[in-house]
């Protein structure tokens, strides 16, 4: 009986692990930014890559909080046919979350990253669903250094 119980627990754990792996957004990210992480990089660039990875995960999972935690004091937010100005970090989080509520992200990948200092940026693209139709979208994210931390100065969906 005890052995049977152990087997069941093992099976459940295994199924749980595989399911978690299957749905983990990190899995998607590891593919999209794989090429970037393989290169020899300075700690500065590694930090940058981490920020971009988290932004990508934020877009994929439609979690504005993941992105907004990297917002600077004020961020220039441009959302396709929507808001288009500087927002405070607090406000930008809600604006972005509202955008995600009406625009369902089907897929997204940051395809290129420009690590040129002092203004690194990344661009990427994906598909989103708005009501009945699917549309392509592009994202441009620019970072800037503030208090020894890389923060988002501009987030464009175009």
């Amino acid at each position: 009986m005890r052995i049977l119980l152990i087997i069941i627990i093992c099976l459940v754990s295994f199924v749980g692990t595989t399911t978690a792996e299957g749905t983990n957004a990190e899995g998607v990210l590891s593919i999209s930014l794989d090429s970037l992480s393989e290169q020899n990089k300075s700690p500065e660039v590694v930090a940058l890559t981490d920020v971009f990875k988290e932004i990508e995960r934020g877009v994929v999972t439609q979690d504005a909080k993941l992105i907004s935690k990297h917002f600077g004091k004020q961020v220039f937010l441009r959302l396709k046919k929507k808001e288009d100005t500087y927002f405070s970090a607090n406000q930008a989080q809600y604006v972005l979350q509202n955008y995600f509520n009406t625009h369902r992200i089907i897929s997204f990948k940051l395809s290129s990253m420009n690590e040129e200092l002092p203004s690194p940026y990344a661009t990427g693209g994906g598909t989103m669903q708005i009501k009945n139709s699917r549309v392509l979208f592009q994202v441009y994210v620019a970072l800037t250094k503030m208090n020894n931390r890389w923060v988002i100065s501009e987030f464009n969906v175009y």
Partner: protein, 1303 residues
Amino acid sequence: MADSISSRFSFLHQRRYKFFIPFLFAVVIIIYGAGYVYQIYIENNWSSISREYEQELADKLQSRFHSYQQTTVVVLERITRLQEFTSKLQSIDSTFLQSIFELLSEQTKGGLSLELFDAHKRMVAWTGSYGVDVDTANLSSALNSIVLQGPITSYLVTIVPFNVNSTQWYLVGKQLFDVNYPINNRFISNDVFTKTFTHGLSFDVEYIFSSAAKVSNDEKVLSVPMVSLSGNNIGYLYLQRQSLSTYHEEVRSNIDKSISVTLCILFMLLLFALRRFAQTIYPEIVRAILLTVGIWSFRYALLLLNIPNGIYSLTLFDASYFASPFGFGIAQSIGDVCLSAIFLLVNIIIIVVPLMKWLLGKGATKLHSVKKSSTILIIAGCCFLLFLCMRGFVASVNSMVFDSTLSYNNPTFVLPPMELAVMLVSQLCISISLALFCLLLMLCSYLLVSSMVSAKYHSVVKWIFMMAFLIALSLLFGAFSENPLISQTQRIVYVLLLVVATQLFYRWSKESSAVLSFRSILLVICVAVIFLLPILDGNVHDLDHSHVELLSTEILRPVNTWLSVVMQRALDELANTEAANVLSSSDSQAITKLAFTQWAKSILGREGNNCAVVMFDRHGNIVSNFQIGMLPSRLSEPFKDISPLKRYLDIEEKSGSSEKFFLGYSPVFTADGEFIGGVWVELSAGKQSLIVNDATNLLKNYSREHLDQHYRKVNLSEYYQGKLVSTTSQSIPREHLISTQILSQQSSLIWVDETIDNKSYETLYFQDQNTSSQGDIWFAIRMESLDVRWHVYSYLRYVLFYIIVVLIVGILFFIVHILRGKKIAVNFRIKLMLAFMIVSIIPVLVLAYYNRQYAIERNEKAVSDHLSDQTEIVVSTVQQEFGVNVPVELSRIRNEDCVEIANRVNTNFNIYYASTLQASSKPEIFTSELLDNRLSANAYANVILKKKNFYIENQSIGKVPYVVGYRPVMADNGAIIGVISVPTLFQQTEIDEELTNRNVFLFGAYALALLLAIGIGTVFANQISSPITQLTNATKDIALGRWNIHLKSGRKDEIGELETAFEEMAKDLQRSQEHMLKAQREAAWKEMAKQVAHEIKNPLTPIKLSIQHLRRAYQDNVKDFGGVLQQVSATILEQIDALTRIASEFSHFARMPERTLTYCDVHEILGEAKNLFNQETTVVFNKEYKAQKSVILADREELRRAFINIIRNAIQAMNVKGTITLRTTSDIDIIEVAITDTGSGISPEVLHRIFEPNFSTKKDGMGLGLSIVKKTIDDLGGTITIESTPGIGTTVTMKLLLSLEHE
């Protein structure tokens, strides 16, 4: 206990709770169930449902289209039937055309353009915009309609043929059908074009109106045929078919909405139920906590249910205006913050008002008994809480300014736009809540201070002591917890303000019968506004700084990041298949406008940068070009150095300028891969364009250009090694240097207040740390410093807004009160004050109105004169330049020539040849169809037909009104060969600035006058009303038996005489009353003697008879004499007892022992009286002691006897079984005691006699009990009343004067 609980919940038996709560629960379940069933039904019958849905949609669209056409037809046919119109067409004379032009202008409205064609199909007159070309082949003898699609706009064209004297005429109406306009800025947006066919449709629709239109092959697209007035199929509307999943979503969304609304009503009912329940809860603090939990639970429930935003989408609930993470979402939009602010205000009122009542009543006594050490600690705690609240408030205002995109700093408005107005109201609500809470804390502190300081000191000493204490604590608080948002001085000023306000509040609450009287409410609002405005103004000022700092980051931003992405994207979008289709078509109009339409739909249009777009055909010929803010460099040799088949991208730096240009080229291929042409793009990456932008703002989207909206004049200067290199300002001298002090600073952003050439600036210096510049380049952004007038203006317009808000709320409150059948008592002083205000305000307003009208007229005259001069200069320059004297020469003028002349004379203008645009210095406005290529009908009629030398007309684009001046270009022979127009469209910023300056001046002056009028009015009202108030109070004193009145104000006018007369009258009254009382006493004694005699007689008779009986028995030697003696003596003793009782009762009634007046607690005495009846187990006593204050000055024993008497009567009336409720309530100086029984009640016939001596409803009663009670209460200066309903019960209510001295 069980009865008590059940009575607390007895309100639930009311229909609204008993019926509605279960009903609403049932509704939720039914909606949910029905929705579920309906969704299954949809899945099973989707094909038929979708068919029906599409048919319904098609019918709806067709009917909409038909009525859209009919609206135009009705107008056109009405015009053709006009007698005046037809008579003019019958007699064609010299004034014929002028009259027709005027008539058409009068008749057109609602954006309808009219054109009149004669029998030869030549247009003879028109009005409104030209729009698209009408093919004269469509002019036939039958009523007809067509939709003409242009690249930017589409028009519904309706043709009404008619005959006048057998001559055929055609009246054509052009109604805007749709605007394919991608520009969305503060001037132009698609929302402006609300009178289009597509406006208001809840879905996107595409359309083709031509013979080529046919049913779409795409299964996902629904094609709806459109029928003209002649019955022909003229095109199709195409829309996406609804899928099952989206239909499901729609149904689900509607179900969710219905459930949300039902739940919201349910929660609201529960909140009301909670409020009713809370009324039975004591102490007050528990009730306040319970209601607070209820209120905020309801607020969060609204948030979870997404009400009201989920039901009706409002812009107020859009996070793009404001959003803050405060409170887990209760401030995530303006609407949310407003709702939360109202909830906060209600909550604070619920907490503060009862606590204030308690403090001003019973609490004061309790606070006196607090130990000194604890008192100091409580005061310190109150102050700490006060400072924390202030801090929270300042942080909330800061968030409302900085976490928002609202234009707080826009000086052009006097009354704010809707979103800002709602935000300002929210801030006021929060500020009032803060003020109320602070007043409570201060009141508590003051009472504690009073208990500490000896009573012999004057109250002023106590206030000063408290002020000193608070300032010390404030300094201590500031030292330990420094806050950048509120300075030490600011906090101390607020504390002083609060002390003054609390003093007034305390005094007024004592004077008035309610805690929140009318003037107390006004005081709270004033304190709230005084709290709010300096903080708000300070934050708005900081916002200007923040904008300038943002501008500095924009200026320092390297150009080759985002713009390179923009260029790549622009080339992709400009060279798409849509461009290829147009280039390969033969539609010359579409090809000519291709550069603009592609620009507008591309990222370039969305970004709004200065740029140029040039489209080429496959041979390298320019087929279309569009530029905004710059001229393209590659117009002559497009394919020089580049391959026409390859994409090209480069950055070019202009020599002698820091400006950079992105240059790009992309070939255009058809879907088959055939090379069809190319597109050349130039994009300016200039820094200065961020501040002074050459591009026409009308054509710019919202973008970084928000940075333009500083509202304060901003200029940019560039320095190299400390020397000025370039500047956008005329006022900065060329030799200006940056001080070495600034150059030596390490900080990246340096704010400096400086004066240059007698002008004060707030300047931000920052360094370009780009490696290539080696730190030698510095920038300075200067804002002109604001003078006092601007601050006054800024404050006063907020004050004006808040006055309006308070007035509106006051009026609403007044109306609600009236509707509920209540009367609003407005005292004489307030009426007088209002009368003074109205009398003073009306002349000021009238004067302001006339002054404003005069200013507007003067402004219009100035604009007219200015335009007259400018048109004259332009006409003479054009004639000098080109020697224009024959039409042929005018027709040679090109846009480039106009731009050159415009730069020279500093005026933008347009030239019309005949009635059509020939050239313009701003051609992009015409390319984008924002302005009409055809000369305005009114201008044509006035300048060409009436030959006026100068004509001025008001026009508008979207929300932008502007004025245009027209002047004819005359040939040498005097013939008009063209018309020059100069619109003020490009000078709108200067005009706005002028208007703002005028507002600042006028508003400041009038607001000051109004404030003075209000202030002086208030003083006069007080002066006049104060003796009358004194007289009123004196009258009240007399009514209460207080005769000691002194009204001597020392005045020698009629009021003084009245006061003297009043005092004499009071003395006379006192004397009369004494006489009267004496007479009454004598009469009463006589009556009493009669009663005593009568009552004594009754027992004496049986005594006499008994003694006679005893004597006879003795004389007769009766056998059982012992028995007789026993019986007779018993009777005599019984009668003697009766006599004793009579004597005792009369003694109580008439004499009463000498009173010993002490401070006694009514609740305690009531409790003692009730305890005497504890043995009556079948009687339930309910205690409802709600009185805040209960101490009175009375004879304790006497009062106790009175209560015992009433309770005994109640028990007897219930036959010793039932419920007696002891209820107390209090006002400022009165306590009300009500004793209610559930007995048999008293009939109305005898109720009025119940207090008469010798009247009783009981068989064995003397009828003196209630008389004694009444006398007791009367002697205490109180009143007693009795209400009874036979079969239900009786309530005896006593009102007693509270002892205010005891506080």
